[in-house]
Symmetry: C2
Subunit: 350 residues, 2 copies
């Protein structure tokens, strides 16, 4: 009988953050692709677009005028999925099949730069530090609202990720409940912490640094790696080395190093297929429910859909929706490919 | 304080099949869309395409020639994500972060018709019965393989769902482990069965039929409904009324009624935006692990991505990936819209 070779044989890997498995089929990356190609717009964008609702001085859908902002600018989402209004409600505890609860929250848009045509990797690290400071401020402001127990900071980048405007921006959805994925993560982090009195990610990052097989970037305070259980082809996670509970606990040196690693990681992403690399990213950290959460350890997920080129993405469809996530390229291979990308953006080089 | 109005106010709904929540933002469907549009090919396809690797008589990538099949045709996937080879492996039980296990399995492709340009809703119900018989046969054949404990039957339809060939076909991935989503479902079904000595879906379908708010189609043996906890805009679930454990337990009348409901549901889908409606569908039923599974109740999920038109889909991205699934239109509204679609295909009407 053939011995298990993790680089060649189909296998499943376990994700201890959410207690789920992923199917890995390394041999399958040789499959020819005859399916859908994404469109890439390589049109050079202007620094200011008079029709963009995020550019400084422009008017938004609700008639408000954006200020002449110089670094970042935050406003309430004009088409928010959540509303601030308090709703009277009494739960019917006998309900098994039709359980619904009103949900209160606040959705904000965070413009990363007044320049319409900039993206994270093309910004100076100092400008990214400024975005981090904005995230800190929002985490505090929103977290202090009495009914807000969770602040989800995220970015959808690229039209393939449902982003309708190339102007560099992210979003924050803050709400009273812990969203499903966060709750799953929290319960696994908590079980680990209760058992070991250390955070799961503190121990995981140490082992990853020792093994050095999935590390993409390392600096004094942060690591960017392809998790052993990654589902997206070039998925990464940026984790603080120190056990940092939330973004507001960063030292100024950590802010600097976080900005540097974000710049380098997104630069490598862009260089991989010489395109503005699409992804959804988001920060997982302590909820703002007023409890101590020693189990939480700051990390940021990057879920990029591209698989083979700027136009061919991985489809998480039939089997993945009914069964479980499946990937073709191993996380080790992806990490090696990403690591070998230059830290200088291809647009500067060419 | 305003009273909770489930048709207007943001709320969360609970999915008892997988123990997860979905965020529903009914008011948000008014949001303008400036993002990515999908491409729709309305090119009429030929009945036979000499370049199609699924058409009868054609040669596949591995050099095999398809037979001149007349109804359905099943073959092993030439680029299977799973392999049949047995792999020697011993688990390191001390592993917390790097848990991997080889996975054995068989992947097959099921051609639904020799005609390149047919889709399910355009087939006569008898042809769909034939597909159901093929699924039964495969469930038995694959389930009988000693190391196969789960048989996942599914279909990816449309290029937006990663399907690379319009020739009508589905897939079957059969494997030794229970995939993540199936395992989650099984544990919730089992908890319910252990408590009530009835299947969760038997009771759920009864309550849905009483309420009659989310029923799209009903016939003697099956119901197609938009689940109370649906995440995709026009997600549906086809459930047997009788507590049927697996597809091989169908009576011949059930086979007939299942074929009819599949034809009607996919016809309504196509009529909704007058397009070949993309979706991933898949059957959840008893595993083939040799155990009795009285908790399982046959059902088929349809996850279609389209939201507003033939070209505008719902993006499950940033918030959805980091937090939880989010929908704009209520399941009740979707059910009403689907129910009101004709059972006659728009291509016949026009
Ligand atoms: O097997 P296919 O049709 O080539 O591939 C399609 O379905 C598979 C199973 O859902 C997915 O893993 C692939 O990402 C998708 O492109
Ligand atoms: O809020 P946006 O950018 O208009 O919308 C985008 O991000 C949201 C949050 O991930 C998603 O719910 C939408 O489907 C997506 O199109």
């Amino acid at each position: 009988m053939k011995n298990f070779d993790i680089n060649e044989d189909p296998h499943r890997r376990y994700n201890p953050l959410i207690n789920e498995w992923v199917l890995v089929s390394p041999h399958r990356s040789k499959r020819p692709w005859q399916g859908q190609n994404e469109t890439v717009t390589s049109d050079a964008l202007p620094e200011y677009d008079p029709t963009c609702y995020l550019c400084p001085g422009n008017v938004r859908a609700n008639g408000m005028v954006n200020p002449d902002y110089e670094s970042s600018f935050v406003f309430e989402n004009d088409f928010a999925a959540l509303k601030q209004e308090e709703i009277a409600f009494e739960e019917n505890k006998n309900q098994t099949f039709f359980r619904a609860k009103p949900e209160r929250g606040i959705s904000r848009v965070v413009c990363f730069s007044p320049k319409h045509n900039l993206t994270l990797p093309e910004m100076p690290a100092e400008a990214i530090e400024n975005i981090i400071h904005t995230w800190q401020k929002e985490y505090i402001d929103l977290g202090n609202v009495d009914y807000i127990n969770h602040v989800q900071i995220f970015e959808n980048k690229g039209s393939v990720m449902g982003c309708s405007n190339p102007h560099p921006h992210g979003q924050i959805w803050a709400q009273s409940s812990l969203p499903t994925e966060v709750e799953k993560t929290q319960s696994n982090l908590k079980a680990y912490f209760d058992k070991h009195n250390k955070t799961l990610l503190e121990d995981y990052v140490k082992e990853e640094l020792n093994l050095n097989e999935r590390i993409v970037i390392e600096n004094d305070h942060f690591v960017a790696l392809v998790p052993f259980w990654a589902i997206w082809p070039y998925e990464t996670m940026v984790v603080s080395k120190r056990n940092v509970n939330k973004i507001t606990d960063f030292t100024e040196m950590e802010v600097t190093d976080f900005a540097v690693i974000l710049k380098q990681l997104t630069t490598k992403y862009d260089n991989l297929f010489e395109t503005t690399f699409p992804y959804s990213s988001g920060i997982h950290q302590s909820p703002t429910d007023g409890e101590l959460h020693p189990e939480w350890h700051f990390h940021m997920h990057f879920y990029p859909p591209l698989l083979r080129s700027a136009t061919v993405k991985k489809f998480m469809v039939g089997y993945e929706m009914m069964g479980e996530s499946q990937r073709d390229i191993t996380p080790e291979k992806s990490a090696e490919i990403l690591k070998n990308q230059s830290n200088v953006h291809y647009k500067i080089l060419t």
